[in-house]
């Protein structure tokens, strides 16, 4: 291929000192211009062949399949002819969409107990709070998370004193400065039991914030009609920044992610969805299992942990390892996300395995970490299908099994490493030598 030949030419030019300086300069110039040209006209093509492909899409599971990646996109599955720059023989191994984490503060926290490394919360954070401005793709958590086959993530800030905790954003785990996929893609609200005061207050405030804006929008609309008819009317005031976000919620343009656990809170939220046509997503939702049919009928997705089976509060007395399977079987779209943790989100796949051990079908479990997340957050990933972003993981065996590891993974078509700071430390301390370990790098 052209690419390989060019690369060889560069190596040759660099390694053989027989060529004159001028020749080298010329060669490099030509190569550089050719490279640019090549980028423009021909995509780099990768073929993953002989894979067991979990498409998490209509094609289900494909055996001995070929997936073609061009640049950052999946361009073909089982094409008649394979013509690629690079071919990887999966040798029957399982290829899945990259897993998608959610509801953590990845990239907004380095060490939880070091205040200056925390960017997920702020006293003043309100509905417009956009924590993506603080996202650090060089955080050591990112590379470590890749070990779990996670290629992208929904980051959810903790908010502040306001009713609304701000907005989520989507990132990939490439570690590049251009990691952010989507900013402000959902609004967060934390409801339920409170140490001080009543849970009713927040539910009521939520209702009122929608009602108030609805009223304002109606007023504005009628004013605009009048204005069109009579030019003398004062110009209509523009909505405030926060109001625009509530408007986006009312139009269903942005999902509302509502943290709540007790069944009464969840039902109150379903009623709000009905009243204001919200794109509602329930998060945590310990009691969801008590009202699984209602949630399914309302077509409301649930983001939940697979392993919180203890009655940790009076809002969550019905935890069970089988809850996720009960909800999925009732027809609820479920996303798996552990509570709170960001440093160990690479365990997501094991949590999925635990859900499987407690009744969830394996393919459904995979959906909770891929397609379902993509659907709720409108990401072009989470499935292996033509046109989807090439976020892929080739596993040594069953992705959920403890003994399995990531063999290869791609983010937007680019192969990424699973090596992290933890590996560097291990290598240092398992190395042998007379000098102190500090010399081993």
């Amino acid at each position: 291929m052209k690419f390989k030949q060019l690369a060889q030419l560069v190596e040759l030019a660099q390694l053989t000192k027989v060529v004159s300086f001028n020749t080298v300069t010329l060669a490099v110039t030509i190569i550089l211009s050719l490279t640019c040209l090549t980028h423009a006209v021909q995509a780099k093509t990768i073929a993953i062949t002989n894979a067991t492909v979990y498409t998490v899409a209509s094609q289900g599971i494909l055996s001995q399949a070929t997936v073609i990646i061009e640049n950052d996109i999946i361009t073909a599955i089982n094409p008649e002819q394979v013509n690629a720059d690079e071919t990887i023989d999966a040798n029957g191994r399982i290829l899945t969409p990259g897993l998608i984490g959610s509801m953590n503060v990845l990239g907004l926290v380095e060490v939880a107990a070091v205040a200056k490394t925390l960017d997920g919360s702020d006293k003043k954070a309100g509905i417009s709070f956009d924590a993506s401005l603080a996202f650090n793709p060089k955080s050591t958590l990112i590379a470590y998370s890749r070990k779990g086959g996670i290629t992208s993530n929904i980051v959810a800030p903790g908010g502040g004193e306001d009713l609304f905790a701000g907005q989520t954003f989507a990132v990939n785990l490439s570690g590049n400065f251009s990691s952010i996929i989507a900013k402000k893609n959902a609004v967060l609200v934390y409801l339920g039991a409170k140490s001080k005061g009543s849970r009713a207050q927040r539910l009521q405030a939520l209702d009122h914030s929608f009602a108030d804006l609805q009223k304002k929008l109606n007023k504005k609309a009628s004013k605009e009609v009048k204005q069109t008819a009579n030019k003398d009317e004062n110009p209509v005031k523009e909505l405030k920044r926060d109001e625009k976000v509530i408007k986006a919620l009312l139009s269903g343009e942005k999902p509302l992610l509502a943290y709540a656990d007790r069944a009464t809170d969840l039902l109150a939220l379903l009623a709000l969805k009905q009243k204001y046509s919200l794109d509602l997503v329930l998060v945590s939702a310990s009691d969801a299992v008590l009202i699984a049919d209602e949630i399914a009928a309302a077509d409301v997705p649930v983001i939940m942990s697979a392993i919180d089976n203890l009655p940790s509060s009076f809002d969550s007395l019905h935890g069970d390892l089988s809850n996720m399977s009960v909800l999925v079987n009732a027809g609820v779209k479920v996303i798996l996300a552990p509570k709170g943790d960001s440093h160990n989100i690479n365990q997501l796949r094991f949590d999925a395995g635990i859900a499987v051990a407690n009744g969830l079908a394996k393919t459904e479990a995979l959906s909770t970490l891929t397609a379902n997340v993509a659907d709720v957050f409108k990401l072009n990933s989470g499935r292996i299908a033509v046109g989807k972003n090439a976020d892929l993981v080739l596993w040594s065996a069953d992705p959920f099994e403890l003994s399995t590891k990531v063999d290869l993974m791609w983010i937007s078509g680019k192969q990424v490493s699973t090596q992290s700071r933890q590996d560097a430390l291990r290598n240092r301390y398992t190395s042998q030598g007379d000098m102190p370990k500090a010399y081993s790098k």
Binding site: V111, A112, P311, S312, V356, A357, Q422, L425, R426
Partner: protein
């Protein structure tokens, strides 16, 4: 009354005179003894059933694996491990395709003292009011109705140590429990298990007391605090030793004033109470080892030793056990240098004692999988660990750390029949404990509701 002959009378008087010369003339007061077991165990095994497991894959906990093996339990003890065991009047459990391991032991739990639900009135796990609260005993905070005990039992946990929290330099005594339902702590208490003393290094004590403008506010303040306490305990022990030897010599000496804080530390100096030291960092563990030598006590088990891999040789050389998570990290600076092979690196040294612990009401339910993660990650990076090695981290080594390895922690003739029957390889994500036995009594059965206990708290909740 019998008349004493004059001659004999003289002799007695002479002897009496002679004794007066070398013994105190005063009458001795009653001996003051410290009751070392004022809250004794009332644990009794649940109804036992003599049982024969046949054709199981057996991991002994002490490093061996036997395929298609039989294990016989009689009167609460393991009596035989072999092939084609023949036994009469026993319940035979066909264990083909299943795995049998010792009961799982967690050396670090706060079940009962930080129970579910985690409401204010249940936060009984840490007496943070002073840097040294060696006088408090975790057992006095245990709420036996914590639903977490049942969940842990479903994960194969048969024995667990309940520790106080890590705010203090000396957090108090830990207690080892049998994971059986009971209305009282005493009903769960592991008979004759030694007490533990919870100590803590590093960030927690210095942060908590430093923020109150009191010592310690630094790591050197921490160490000064330990040393002052051990110096006082050394004096206290000397006073008691002197009282005891004087009394034995017949003197009517005055007993030292009881000090509950120093009682606990003296127990450590006497080798009766085992140190369990929350200590993440390599350099701090090294200091704690020297501290033990300075005051002549065993520095015991290091808990959460995230950096143990950096000094694995030293830890083994000094015979310290180290209890670790497979992969928790990053919540504090002292937990920043995690490596997934930590347990394996510690374990690889001769005479080591590596343990996987939970410190969690969630992961205690799957300590087998916590150990599994270590094994697989280490094997991806040059180790060749097998299930028979990894099981040791949550059975035999844990029992050793708690001072109960003579009775539990491995499958061997004569040991307590603490046994878990797994639906398959326990080092799989799909593994589940099917049946759990403590002292030969079935305490849990996944397929028989009769053997699934339920906390009072959850009864009648809708």
């Amino acid at each position: 009354m019998q008349t004493i002959p004059v001659k004999l009378g003289f002799t007695v008087a002479a002897v009496s005179l002679a004794l007066t010369a070398c013994l105190p003339s005063e009458k001795q007061d009653a001996k003051v003894n410290i009751n070392k077991n004022p809250f004794p165990s009332t644990y009794k095994a649940l109804p036992q059933q003599n049982t024969l497991f046949t054709n199981a894959t057996v991991l002994t906990g002490s490093g061996q694996r036997f395929d298609n093996a039989d294990v016989l339990i009689v009167d609460g003890k393991i009596t035989q491990l072999g092939v084609d065991i023949i036994a009469e009047d026993v319940l035979t459990i066909n264990s083909q395709g299943k795995w049998l391991t010792p009961g799982i032991i967690d050396v670090h739990s706060h079940l009962g003292v930080y129970p579910s639900p985690s409401v204010e009135s249940h936060a009984d796990g840490n007496e943070i009011t002073a840097p040294n609260t060696a006088e408090v005993w975790a057992e006095h905070s245990v709420w036996p109705q914590d639903p977490g005990f049942q969940a842990a039992r479903a994960g194969g946990i048969t024995t667990l140590q309940i520790l106080p929290g890590s705010a203090n330099l000396f957090g108090g005594r830990g207690v080892t429990l049998r994971n059986v339902p009971s209305e009282t702590m005493q009903g769960m208490k592991f008979t004759d298990a030694p007490y533990g003393l919870k100590m803590a290094c590093g960030e927690n004590p210095k942060r908590i007391y430093g923020s109150r403008k009191q010592q310690p506010s630094t790591r050197m303040g921490n160490v000064a605090g330990y040393r002052a306490a051990w110096a006082a305990a050394t004096e206290y022990k000397r006073a008691w030793d002197k009282y005891n030897s004087d009394y034995a010599a017949g003197k009517n000496s005055q007993a030292p004033t009881r000090d509950l804080e120093l009682d606990t530390l003296m127990g450590v100096l006497d080798g009766e109470i085992l140190v369990h030291n929350h200590c993440y960092k390599a350099e701090e563990m090294a200091v704690m080892i020297d501290l033990g030598k300075e005051f002549n006590y065993d520095s015991g088990t290091f808990h959460h030793g995230v950096e143990a891999y950096k000094i694995a040789d030293k830890l083994a050389e000094n015979a310290n056990c180290v209890a670790m998570w497979p992969d928790w990290w990053g919540f504090k600076m002292e937990a920043y240098d995690m490596v997934e092979e930590n347990v394996a690196i510690v374990d690889a040294v001769k005479n080591s004692c590596a343990i996987v612990h939970s410190d969690s009401d969630t992961t205690i339910q799957r300590l087998n999988q916590e150990a599994a993660k270590v094994m697989y990650r280490a094997n991806e990076n040059g180790f060749s660990l097998k299930p028979e090695n990894a099981i040791k981290w949550i059975t035999f080594n844990a029992a050793k750390s708690l001072g109960i390895s003579d009775t539990t922690g491995s499958l061997a003739a004569g040991k307590n029949a603490d046994v878990v029957l797994w639906n398959g390889n326990p080092f799989s994500v799909y593994a589940q404990a099917e049946q759990v036995f403590i002292d030969g009594a079935k305490v849990y059965d996944r397929h028989d509701e009769k053997y699934q206990a339920k906390s009072d708290f959850l009864l009648g909740q809708e």
